[in-house]
């Protein structure tokens, strides 16, 4: 049995906006085990970042508030702790120490006028009672660990002097500084070129093998999901539409949305001789949390929609082996 690191149950995040309240994340549950990667995949606006920021306790409140559910994290003492309702001070101690996050654009989290070595050192000094020299030695070891060549020299660089791939390595080094059990990676390779993405994914996998951390990997890229994940959560308009083992999701998708999404992808070597084919596009676009349909959020774009789909949001049901789907018709469509 692998140990659970993170357990999110029925999470609902509310934003107060002009004209009322919206719920960009609603009824989301999943867990991440030690040494495993869970991918959350969805189109932009589906609620992926709000989910990760809710876990990290980094949403601005107001306007945001976790209005329902639980987020439990295994801390270094081995205990599961409830994060919902913790004050900022307590959360701050947990961030960095027990969980850390990297983002799509490292530039937004790095200080442009401070050398990267000093920035990584600061993260260490924030959580540990060691001297400056010892901290700098730790920084050198960390940069080395994330395969930054010539770390002594690169520590002196300012962020803009580094490539996007190197900056993401610095962010990973910073996230790992206090050996957190959980790493949340929100679109960590989206801004990178494919060859650099391949380098960074390889690095993340290696570090996971070495350190046994659990990774919550957020992305919109289905190719990346297939490559990194053991388990997958498919989000749409704030809801989980399908959830399960990665092979199940890609080879036996149960929800019409997942099926359509996979079908709409152009694939390498997908083209038969000479002929150009049309892609199976999904008409329309995802609704915003400000005007969600009353029933299944995907119903307006779904080829398999029936009237009952509009009556109420379908329940997320187990279609076998922990493969969950939120579709009224999953059995007849299977």
């Amino acid at each position: 049995m692998t140990e659970t690191l993170l357990e999110v149950t029925d999470l609902r995040t509310e934003f107060s906006v002009e004209g009322g309240k919206i719920h960009p994340v609603d009824g989301v549950s999943f867990s991440v085990a030690r040494g495993e990667t869970l991918a959350v995949v969805g189109e932009s606006g589906s609620g992926k970042s709000v989910t990760s920021l809710s876990i990290m306790g980094l949403l601005p409140h107001p306007p945001a508030r976790i209005s329902q559910g639980s987020i439990r994290l295994r801390c270094k003492d081995g205990q599961m702790r409830e994060l919902v309702g913790l004050d900022d001070h307590a959360l701050q101690r947990i961030r960095g120490n027990d969980m850390a996050m990297i983002f799509q654009e490292p530039m937004t989290s790095l200080n442009p006028v401070q050398r990267v070595g000093a920035q990584v050192a600061e993260t260490i000094l924030l959580h540990e009672n060691i001297g400056r020299t010892a901290a700098m030695e730790r920084v050198r070891a960390l940069l080395n660990r994330v395969d930054i060549p010539d770390p002594m020299r690169r520590m002196q660089d300012y962020p803009h002097q580094m490539s996007g791939g190197m900056r993401q390595r610095v962010m990973i080094a910073m996230a790992l500084a206090c050996s957190p059990g959980l790493l949340i990676a929100d679109e960590p390779t989206t801004a990178l070129d494919v060859t650099v993405q391949a380098q960074v994914l390889l690095l993340m996998r290696r570090l996971q093998d070495e350190l046994g951390m659990g990774i919550l990997f957020i992305t919109h890229n289905l190719g990346v999901v297939a490559e990194v994940a053991r388990n997958v959560v498919v989000m749409y308009a704030g809801r989980v539409l399908e959830q399960g083992d990665v092979v199940e999701i890609f080879h036996r998708p149960r929800h019409p949305y997942t099926r359509s999404l996979l079908a709409s992808l152009p694939r390498l070597h997908g083209r038969s001789a000479g002929k150009r084919e049309r892609l199976a596009a999904i008409p329309g676009s995802m609704p915003s949390p400000r005007d969600l349909p009353p029933g299944c959020p995907f119903a307006p774009r779904c080829n398999d929609r029936i009237d009952a789909c509009d009556a109420a949001v379908p329940a997320l049901v187990d279609s076998g082996h922990g493969h969950l789907t939120r579709c009224l018709r999953w059995q007849e469509l299977a």
Binding site: T195, L202, N221, H251, R267, L268, A281, I282, S285
Partner: protein
């Protein structure tokens, strides 16, 4: 097929203050036939946008030759150029930045008609409605403003604007890179339908290799300002001959968890285009490089019918 566009030894240097010269595009030559879709791929900074913009003379080349319909673009007189402008259009990646937020969609599409004096009065309105319908937007969209539309719809507006002048050639610079997959497929289908119906020649710039394979007849692979390989789409993807193309294709993740890619991880970083390597620009990261690769810039040589590579080694 006859060549609509012919580019020879195109070069662009950008001088940058105190740091030297960015060698953005070096010695790029290729042709595009009427009605052909050519894909231009390569990682960011490889010079794709600069090539696309030079063709439309939105960027002045440092040297080289661009012929469109046999006319030398760089020597064309102002009236000649104005006529040619109508025949070439560009679609940008960012449908947010490329549409004027203070203009209605009708005005945006209409402006293209006005510049070239193509339609007036009620004929103008009819034409705008017709163009919007062509790209899958309702006539009512005319009265609305860019911010009222989703990313995919804005890209449709950009396409309608490009089509307004009935061009023969369109440069589409990462037209679907900012869109979600489900919407990306809609826009790719639209571009493909329009290309076929109107017999357009299209230069499709993208970094997503699967998207390019899907849409292009022929593909050009660039790295650090230079062409590495050119081939018919199917040949390039099935039988890449340049080590860079091989590495690039191997790096693309496959949306199938049961497929474990045989990946070639490139070592090191992209060199600076302020100071590109001598000889083959890819040699510093190439798993097959030998001493001779530093000596001369490898010429593009035909290795199979229509399949060219710039590599002196014969390893892939």
């Amino acid at each position: 097929m006859t060549d609509l566009l012919e580019i020879r030894a195109l070069k662009k240097n950008f001088p940058v203050a105190r740091r030297g010269v960015v060698q953005a595009v070096q010695d790029v030559s290729f042709a595009v036939a009427a009605g052909e879709v050519v894909g231009l791929v390569g990682e960011s900074g490889s010079g794709k946008t600069t090539v696309g913009r030079m063709i439309l003379r939105l960027i002045e080349p440092t040297s080289g030759e661009i012929r469109f319909d046999g006319i030398d673009l760089l020597a064309a007189s102002a009236p000649e150029m104005r006529k040619l402008r109508r025949r070439m259009q560009i679609i940008f990646q960012d449908p947010f930045a490329s549409l004027n937020p203070t203009m209605s969609v009708g005005a945006i599409v209409g402006e293209a008609l006005d510049i070239h004096g193509l339609a007036k009065g009620s004929a103008r309105t009819d034409r705008i409605v017709d163009l919007l319908q062509r790209v899958g937007l309702p006539a009512e969209a005319m009265e609305r403003y860019p911010h009222e539309f989703s990313g995919g719809q804005r890209q449709r507006v950009g396409i309608a604007r490009a089509l307004a002048v009935e061009p023969a050639f369109i440069v589409a610079d990462e037209p679907v890179s900012a869109l979600d997959v489900s919407v990306q497929a809609q826009v790719i289908n639209l571009l493909q339908d329009l290309q076929e119906q109107l017999g357009l020649a299209l230069m499709f710039i993208a970094h997503d290799l699967a998207v390019v394979e899907h849409i292009a007849d022929r593909v050009i692979v660039m790295y650090l300002g230079r062409i590495m390989e050119v081939a018919p789409s199917r040949d390039l993807y099935r039988n890449p001959r340049h080590p860079y193309t091989v590495a690039l294709l191997s790096a693309a993740p496959t949306p199938d968890p049961l497929v474990r890619p045989q990946r070639i991880i490139l070592s090191g970083e992209l060199p600076s285009s302020l100071n590109p390597p001598s000889g083959c620009v890819f040699r510093t990261r190439c798993p097959h490089a030998v001493a001779a690769c530093a000596e001369v810039v490898p010429p593009l040589e035909e290795v199979a019918p229509g399949h060219f590579k710039a590599c002196i080694r014969d390893v892939v």
